[in-house]
Symmetry: C2
Subunit: 366 residues, 2 copies
């Protein structure tokens, strides 16, 4: 047995009372995780030393992202280990995508209540299948005993000064989102059987249900198009907390940037957004749900979509649409950045009541 | 309130039932963690976006390390929050030091059972005080609710091809360690009041006790000398699991390297180490303990020292000793890499019985 993984998972040494079963656990971890440390040219040294060593592409900056997923908080407790792994890596890659970065590698800190071979095999397969799509290796990490928690830190590269920030939105920008919104939140309702609004689940076809659960459990990070945004997009963020919340973060940071500039030049800034509900891209399942309930919370404040929300000058729109279409990504214009405070939701141009979208479709109802 | 930290700690959004107290928690986190994101030139963007952006020094490779510390497993449950923070960062910096890397930044994934202002303040001060010594900023992370667990991922830089690996040991190398060994394990015995060997704690002066507890709770990573090793040292590892275990890792990886070379060139390789007990550098406290008990487990298999163990050709010894002395580091030769299997412990040249050092002085007794 190659001991490199044993050394790596030093946490295991310290369990005290379970030493007799440690050899078995090491074997399991070695068997299931070591193969994820695939050899790629950019990694000089992966798992097996005190740390990993990565080659740096010339004229690039390093981008680092971290996200923790806790069982029962960020995913339902009965989520399959394959999906837990997939989602843990996906949410990090989604952050890299939002910054226009290309992923390079990731490390894993896994806290497990017990060691089950079946669980570890399925978990490692989830990591393997998603990471293989972007050829990124697992370069290190740690495991320990405790309630199920997955922390992944991912590294990526972006050409110097070309990272896309959430703070770059300007008045007049069009607001776009990728693919469809609300699918992850619909999936969560299905997973939790949470239909407070007396919505008849039978309105959804099997395929619609399947697609929604898949969006919840195996979100696809928009890495394929991250480089396409460079030079065209003013700001981007991934939609993890829901469109309104994440657009709010974008406005907040962009306003702060404008105010900082104004300190030198003077001027009084406000920044807001108009969103047109009829333009929100919806899957047929989410459209059915909204038609039956008149509840727009799934696409507006349901989290877990991991689509991108971006703002750009209108003249760049056709070029970006063309670029990302080649990657199979559908881009929809859903609104504009305006010189007015707050986010206003319109329906065919008519302002909707504030507060109607506060229900939340995401994990807040856990 | 600047919301950048709120966005950053997205985990908090998902607590569900505690929304009413969330504003307070955000304030606390903002107050205590945001100042750790100190502005340094190398960081283009710290906390506040989907990820952090770091400038890359020319002709350097990236080194990434990760370690998780779990309460009651890696540190006693009654450890002070200041010390938990210090140690969590120190063990990661120690890994960077062992590779000859210069630390650049770190991210934090913190799982907390409850939000206490006092706890957070003290914890953040521990991070602040250690990170300030190396001018490294906190660049991101995540927090969530659950049993106390701290995962830190740290990034560092090393000049191209100059990283020091644990696999570089050669037959004939002298084996050196920094400063003294066994102090962390003595500190653990004090913290747990674990004196199975009927050792009278009164043998230790107040100062000796204080020093041992300090070694346990606030280990100092050997970052100051990490660059000094480059070009002189063949292999290095930080002593977290105890000298014998970590030297064992070094031998294992070095043998694998030699065998890999042999596949091309042929040849039959063995690799081992002779350690001379009388040359182990001991603090007066550890020396007193050994004198009273004849138990050498503290310096040999007690973990938590975070000193470096390194091997180098004898002709480089005086130069390295001189370099590190300028940093206040004492280097001791404790043995040699030999062409014989296993690690043998000698005392004034006389081979000691195998198995006498298996007691373990580290967390294995938790």
């Amino acid at each position: 047995m190659n001991k490199s993984f044993v050394t790596w998972f030093t946490g295991l040494f310290l369990f005290g009372q379970v030493e007799e079963s440690m050899a078995l656990e090491f074997d399991l971890i070695e068997m299931y995780f070591a193969p994820l440390s695939q050899e790629v040219e950019a990694v000089e040294m992966g798992i097996g030393d005190d740390g990993a060593i990565l080659n740096v592409p010339e004229n690039h900056q390093l981008v680092v992202v971290t996200d923790t997923l806790v069982s029962g908080v960020h995913f339902p407790e009965n989520t399959e280990p394959y999906d837990i792994a997939w989602k843990s890596l996906a949410v990090n890659l989604s952050d890299l995508a939002a910054m226009g970065a290309t992923p390079a590698s990731y490390s894993l800190a896994l806290t497990l209540p017990e060691y089950s071979e079946d669980w570890l095999r399925a978990f490692s397969e989830g990591l393997r299948d998603l990471s293989a799509q972007f050829a990124i290796p697992l370069i290190g990490g740690d495991t320990s005993k405790g309630p199920l928690t997955v922390t992944i830190t991912a590294q990526g590269w972006v050409p110097n000064q070309q990272a896309i920030l959430r703070s770059g939105a300007n008045i007049g920008d069009v607001i776009c989102v990728t693919n469809t919104l609300g699918e992850g939140a619909l999936g969560l309702k299905l997973a939790l059987n949470d239909w407070q609004d007396s919505f008849a689940i039978s309105c959804l076809s099997d395929e619609e249900q399947c697609r929604a659960l898949n969006a919840l459990n195996r979100p696809m990070p928009q890495i394929a198009m991250s480089a396409d945004m460079r030079g065209l997009v003013n700001s981007a963020i991934d939609i993890s907390d829901g469109l309104l919340a994440d657009l709010g973060h974008m406005l907040h940071h962009s306003l702060a940037r404008l105010k900082q500039g104004a300190e030198q030049g003077g001027g009084d800034f406000v920044l807001g957004a108009d969103i047109e509900l009829s333009q929100l891209p919806l899957s047929s399942g989410v459209a059915h749900y909204i038609k039956a309930t008149q509840d727009w919370s799934l696409p507006l404040s349901g989290g877990d979509d991991y689509q991108l929300c971006l703002t750009l000058p209108e003249q760049h729109l056709s070029k970006l649409t063309e670029r990302v279409a080649a990657k199979g990504v559908r881009l929809s214009v859903v609104g504009h950045i305006v010189k007015q405070k707050g986010i206003r939701c319109l329906k065919h141009g008519v302002l909707q009541e504030e507060g109607m979208f506060e229900k939340g479709g995401g994990y807040r109802h856990f």
